[in-house]
């Protein structure tokens, strides 16, 4: 168990709308988000001593700009000791939070800016994105030659999960509807029109049993957050969001090597995080669960212990996870409704977790939210990353 519980806090967040902005340079999404986060934290920009840009996927040239200090220079950050990319695909946010926490706790850094920007909505074509995600994170020797891609990966997990649990298409669709209910209240979300179960289950089949409206879509976007010590945080903001626990399990690179494609490592990662925090799932006011597709949100929700295996679909269907529900889940609308921006999909979920805990979530604010669990996962669901965050240190 780490020594990080309650030692660091997130003090500022920033996010630009997720969408299609062909005229906007990718770097702007990162610069604007970082600027917002610095203002939100109420710090002088020159207090930032460490910049952690995460990886961008749409263009290697753009990613190189992030690696080679462009954000620090564009924003005029004068006291940056290191600019170092932290990239773990869709797990980047949660992995970076733990690394940032360790740097702060050790004294190696004092004020860390984490930032994401990408342009997957307009920087690549639709078929280009399918082709990108038929190779990115997929084994060139053992899976690419069989026509593997992310819809198929998801469909394989969904198929086995439905086979083992008896869950239905309606249960899967219910996750999309729940997330859309939240996105309707999120000005940064791309999909904000109401969505029905019927629309989802009648949408085009991609890879059985996965349908088009159960699939995320790729967009442009960016987000940022700032991490500092708990002591400094208390001087800066009314409600610092403390890191209370973290857990993680790396399970595979090649999807076929995952021994249980309808569970993954969530139960173990969740136990680690909850144990460190001293809290249980019953203490959570928010379940900010990584989606990208409905199956992964259901598996995460169930394996963390919010309900028994096979019951998740019914809980999403009856509205317990919706605005006003008993256990608000993925309250930004997730990648299914806010939109998927690459590594930013989970950055958006972490930023939303902080936003809710700080009480800054506007129309979709969950009243009196004190404790939250948030999750992230990268590649072909290669790992399970869990953080417990809260505005109090139990």
């Amino acid at each position: 168990m780490s020594k990080l519980k309650g030692k660091v806090a997130i003090v500022g967040i920033g996010e630009v709308p997720t969408g299609r902005f062909p005229e906007t340079a990718a770097i702007y999404h990162g610069m604007a988000s970082a600027k917002m986060a610095i203002k939100d934290a109420g710090i002088d920009k020159d207090e930032i001593d460490y910049v952690m840009p995460t990886g961008a996927l749409y263009s290697p040239a753009f990613n190189t700009e992030l690696v080679t200090c462009r954000i620090a220079e564009e924003l005029g950050l004068k006291n940056v000791k290191k600019n170092c990319q932290i990239f773990a695909g869709g797990s980047s946010s949660t992995c970076a939070l733990e690394i940032a926490a360790a740097l702060i706790y050790s004294g190696a850094a004092s004020m860390i800016l984490f930032v994401h920007a990408d342009k997957l909505g307009t920087g690549v074509t639709a078929q280009g994105a399918i082709d990108l995600f038929s190779t990115a994170g997929i084994s060139a020797e053992w899976e690419v030659p069989y026509g593997q891609h992310y819809s198929a990966v998801t469909a394989l997990s969904t198929m086995r999960y439905m086979y083992e649990t008896g869950c239905t298409d309606e249960h899967m669709a219910a996750v999309c509807v729940s997330n859309r209910r939240w996105a309707q209240l999120n000005p940064n979300a791309f999909f904000r029109k109401p969505l029905t179960i019927e629309e989802v289950v009648k949408s085009k089949m991609l890879s059985t049993p996965l349908r088009a409206k159960q699939s995320n879509m790729l967009f442009d976007g960016g987000a940022a957050f700032i991490v500092t010590s708990a002591e400094r945080a208390r001087d800066l903001v009314e409600k610092p969001v403390y890191l209370l626990g973290e857990g993680g399990v790396v399970t595979h690179f090649v999807y076929s090597q995952e021994p249980d494609v309808s569970r993954f490592g969530w139960a173990k990662a969740g136990r680690m995080a909850f144990e460190e925090s001293g809290l249980t799932v019953a203490d959570m006011d928010l379940a900010e669960i990584y989606d990208s597709y409905p199956i992964f949100q259901i598996i995460g929700f169930e394996e963390l212990g919010f309900c028994r295996r096979g019951e998740g679909g019914e809980i999403f269907l009856r509205g317990d996870t919706w605005p006003g529900g008993r256990i608000p889940c993925t309250t930004n609308g997730g990648m299914l409704s806010q939109g998927h921006t690459g590594a930013g999909g989970s950055v958006a979920i972490l930023v939303e977790t902080v936003r809710q805990l700080m009480g800054k979530a506007g129309e979709r604010q969950v009243p009196n939210a004190r404790f939250a669990v948030e999750t992230a996962v990268g590649g072909t669901y290669m790992d399970a990353q869990v953080s417990i965050l809260g505005t109090e240190i139990p």
């Binding site: 020797e141 030659p145 026509g147 469909a155 394989l156 086979y163 076929s256």
Partner: protein
């Protein structure tokens, strides 16, 4: 638009015997001489006990479908013409070993989880046979 060529396996040197055997329609996997466990895909050391004593072993080619999907739309460019096609993870009879493959030799809609299948080799080009699986003979 011309469909791009099918991607060929990017072969790692330590896995070359697998592909050489496949070209001769032989299905081999690794087995650890120390702990006795089966290994797929091929590794430089046993992923269980870390022994260097990994040896090639002729697998039965019998397996069951762990999970599968029928790709009906949004396939990668090189596979658009193949739709609908079946991607599956199969569990080999040699315990603890899974691989990704295509299920062939039946209608896509006839594939089921846990159905028995057997290996069959499909020629990809002059250099490669891809091991795929078809419903097992009764």
């Amino acid at each position: 638009m011309d469909a791009p060529k099918k991607p060929v396996p990017v072969v790692n040197p330590w896995a070359k015997p697998f592909w050489d055997a496949a070209k001769e329609e032989r299905f081999i996997i690794q087995k650890c001489a120390d702990c006795g466990k089966y290994i797929f895909y091929p590794r430089i050391a046993c992923p269980h006990c870390f022994s260097d004593a990994v040896e090639w072993f002729p697998a039965s080619g019998r397996a069951t479908v762990y999970t599968y999907t029928v790709v009906e739309s949004n396939a990668p460019s090189a596979f658009i013409a193949d739709m609908p096609y079946v991607i599956a993870v199969v569990r080999l009879e040699e315990g603890g070993v899974q691989m990704l493959t295509n299920i062939v030799g039946c209608k896509p809609e006839d594939v089921r989880c846990d159905m028995p299948v057997e290996v069959v080799f499909e020629k990809l080009n002059d250099d490669f046979n891809l091991p795929k699986f078809r419903p097992a003979a009764k």
